[in-house]
């Protein structure tokens, strides 16, 4: 009962204000409130709103991290105001003042309220976000594998709060990127055995230049998600299904790029950068580099390569020859490949499938790596709310 009975403390909030009707630029307003440390930042904001200034704009309803209304940035990190302890928010602040701003990547309407329709919901609508039933529809329920339902339930756990969209780095560069939340939504259908158009969905998302291969694996969305949906993991699952299962060779070179990446690391223990570009165009073989498009992209990239050479980041010999690592290390890398590829089934851990056994002994083991065959192997169990994590490690803290 660690949390009960603590006395209220004083907290100062620095809230980003913007009044679209004033013609004035955004500004900061500070309010000091009193609250028990285990209360949420949202309760702090509501107290400020109730006691001092009712014009502070923030969407909120449930106060329990389920309605997804109160996505904001707290001390620069995206998350739900209702899901962030005010005491811990103070600890992570720069100067003892808790800084609250609207989410990023979406236009601000007023104060902490952003236009989710213009960005987030438009992208959700883009992924055909409804079940296209496998026919015939049974008289009773579809008989489906138990695990498959639990699997897609992870993406059902998404509350559409926009925290992942807020800090998606790819979206910052390419505003047309479908983005983490909508792609996680897409997996909810691709992974659903009742959906009739899994292949078509995958092809659509693979061929779209702003689709699944537009993600750069920065993990920001996983860190931001207050519900453990791990959107990037869902994007990687979409890729595995598109590439490894359906061999959809897309015009964005996504599938070939991943295959080349995986093979190069397997063969050399480290990435051989110079070989990656040609193979991404020409396929995963030494001859890939003769693909005409590879030449074009190489020519395109020459200024960058030259700059890197001048700065001695690469040398001509270094580019032509792969990196070398000690053979014992290489063996270890290859052992990982053997273990992952040697599995009969792809092991996909999930918010609900934790890999824990009933017995306590098993429960002490850290969650196994949720890597996959054929994927890029970058997927570890870095999901929010992972069992075994202390509350302090919880991503939105």
């Amino acid at each position: 009962m660690a949390e009960t009975g603590k006395p209220p403390e004083s907290y100062t909030l620095r809230i980003r204000r913007f009044d679209p009707e004033s013609g004035a630029a955004p500004y900061w307003a500070e309010h000091t409130i009193e609250l028990e440390p285990h209360r949420s930042v949202l309760e702090g904001i509501l107290q400020a709103k109730g006691r001092f200034d009712g014009s502070i704009g923030i969407r909120c309803s449930c106060k329990a991290a389920i309605c997804g209304s109160c996505g904001v940035r707290i001390n620069g990190q995206p998350g739900l105001a209702c899901h962030t302890h005010i005491g811990r928010a103070k600890e992570t602040s720069r100067d003892g003042v808790i800084e609250i701003e609207p989410m990023g990547n979406m236009p601000v309407i007023k104060d902490l309220i952003v236009d989710m329709d213009a960005v987030h919901w438009k992208k959700v609508q883009r992924v055909t976000p409804w079940l296209i039933n496998k026919e015939p529809i049974p008289e009773r329920e579809y008989l489906v594998d138990r695990e498959s339902m639990v699997d897609v339930t992870q993406t059902m756990a998404c509350i559409q709060c926009g925290a992942c969209v807020s800090d998606c780095l790819s979206m910052e560069v390419d505003p047309l990127f479908i983005g983490p939340a909508a792609l996680a939504k897409a997996y909810r259908f691709v992974g659903d055995p009742r959906d009739a158009q899994q292949y078509e969905r995958l092809q659509d998302l693979a061929e779209d230049p702003h689709g699944i291969y537009d993600c750069t694996h920065c993990f920001k969305c996983i860190e931001a998600c207050p519900k453990g949906v791990a959107p990037m993991n869902q994007i990687m699952r979409l890729r595995r299904r598109a590439g490894s299962d359906h061999h959809i060779s897309d015009r964005n070179n996504g599938e070939r790029h991943e295959a080349a990446f995986v093979t190069l690391v397997k063969d050399h223990g480290l990435l051989w950068e110079a070989e990656l570009l040609p193979r991404s165009h020409g396929g995963n073989s030494w001859f890939g580099k003769f693909a005409p498009k590879a030449g074009l992209e190489l020519a395109d990239s020459l200024p960058v390569i030259t700059k890197a050479m001048l700065r001695r980041k690469v040398t001509p010999m270094g580019a032509l020859k792969p990196h070398k690592i000690p053979s014992a290390d290489l063996k270890q890398v290859q052992d990982i490949y053997d273990t992952v590829h040697g599995r009969d089934e792809r092991l996909e851990l999930n918010l609900y499938i934790t890999g824990y056994d009933e017995d306590e002994a098993g429960a002490q083991e850290p969650a196994a790596v949720a890597a996959s065959g054929g994927g890029d192997g970058g997927q570890t169990a870095a999901e929010g709310g992972q069992p075994g994590m202390t509350p302090e490690d919880s991503p939105t803290r």
Partner: protein
Amino acid sequence: MPAHDVLILGACLAGQRAALAAADAGATVAILSKVHPVRSHSVAAAGGINAAINPADDWRSHAFDTVKGSDFLGDQDAIEVMCAEAPDEVLHLEHIGVTFHRNETGQMDLRAFGGASMKRTAYVADITGQAILHVLYEQLMKYHERVDRYEEWFTTSLLQDEEGNCTGCIARDIRTGQLEVFTAKNVILATGGAGQCFKPTTNGLICTGDGISMAYRIGAPLMDMEMIQYHPTTLVENGFLITEGARGEGAHLLNADGERFMEKYAPNKMELASRDVVSRAEQTEINEGRGVGPGGVGIYLDITVVPKKRTLEALREIVNIGKDFAGVDITKEPILIRPGQHYIMGGVKTDVNGATPIPGLYAAGEVACVSVHGGNRLGANSLLDTLIFGRRAGEHAAQRAAGISMPEATPLSRVREESAWIDSIIDRPKDGRRVSEIKDDLGTEMNRNVAVFREQDGLTHALETVRRLKEEAKTAYIDDRGTVFNQDVLGAIELGFMLDCAECTVMAALERKESRGAQYRTDFPERNDDEWLKHIDVSRNGDDTPHLSYSPVTITQWQPEERKY
């Protein structure tokens, strides 16, 4: 000026289901909500949805459990409709994509729930409401050409023509502050409950009784308003809901002596007795000094008896809630809970098609009182209620629309009146009280005197307080002078809605001089079927005071009997 066959106010489960059903029936449909549809409070329903889908089960058994749960105040014809149609509705949800948990044979799994005589609760981990709400919204996105969505529009008043028909509403676009008249042949209220009248409550900040009050203001009767459900397991720290699913999975309730005290109150069903019974038992333990935690204000909910793997898979949300908000690992130690306001059984009186006595006005979900929940709602019956009666209201309203013409447009003078009223709130001088203070006072008073245990003096005090607050609310001031997302002025309007609901609740609770379901009067501790086997209806008098009357309880097959769990 938008005009539709069916206009739905509120985009909760009932509202979205009504919209889809009305569109399927060929009507032109608009759905209008003060929040984005997936923020609706249905999202918080955790545990599941009841339906006798197991071939060994029978909807009549479900119906009887519901009747008994209601303490025989539920209308049995309505309960029969709900329970008989439940399996098809749940299968429909499965077909449109709800990811119901499966058993090893791939069929939908069922979990135990309070007051049920067998396992009949279908579920999606402990996010069932969320899963269904989001899947219905998927369907609304699919229907984007057939259902007009007005998201973040706040309804301020219902419109009525001279014959008394409901002809639409006036609503404010929250983003621009613009008022608009929505003309409609039928209006379906799906605006949810009024939990914000209480503090604390498990309800979201949006649950301010808007629809109940707006219907009441144009003359629709309310029913069973005294029946307020206190959920047995809300977190002591901040009032968060801990799903009944926890007890469904086998969790125990323990008092300070480490005793499973439910043995004394409900020896057969133990922790899975109906909610009013469990909440009362807990409150009794706390009042008699056997509570736990600081000040002895709580009870232990011990989930450690549930296998850890099962907890992580099926009770994920509360693992997180425990960890994030109470600093407790529920797989290792008990968590401190107490009863907390959760649901209102009462609402706008409707028939089994969701129709209110006002032509053209329907209601479904928590805003409505059919009455299927009577004195006490069973866990996992609320989702069912919203969907069954949401669908029926949508279908019925679409049918009705086919036979009538579009009402004449409301004169603009009516909009100007509304606009002047809202402006007058914005312009109030700062010499009254703050809206937030009045709201806090209301919640505290209701939670003190209109809670698990009630008696004459407390209720009288509550009524005086509510009436005083109603006066104070007339001059309560706000800070925001703007038009874009002026949540402040909406808060003032919501406060008015809440005060209407609270007044009706207290009046009805004072009136019912017996103990039945959630209404437990310490001064009248027995159920009294001779005098009180009837609904209390509340209508508004011309002078803005509630007027009480009675209506009979419909009994079909189950005569009242002693209620024991």
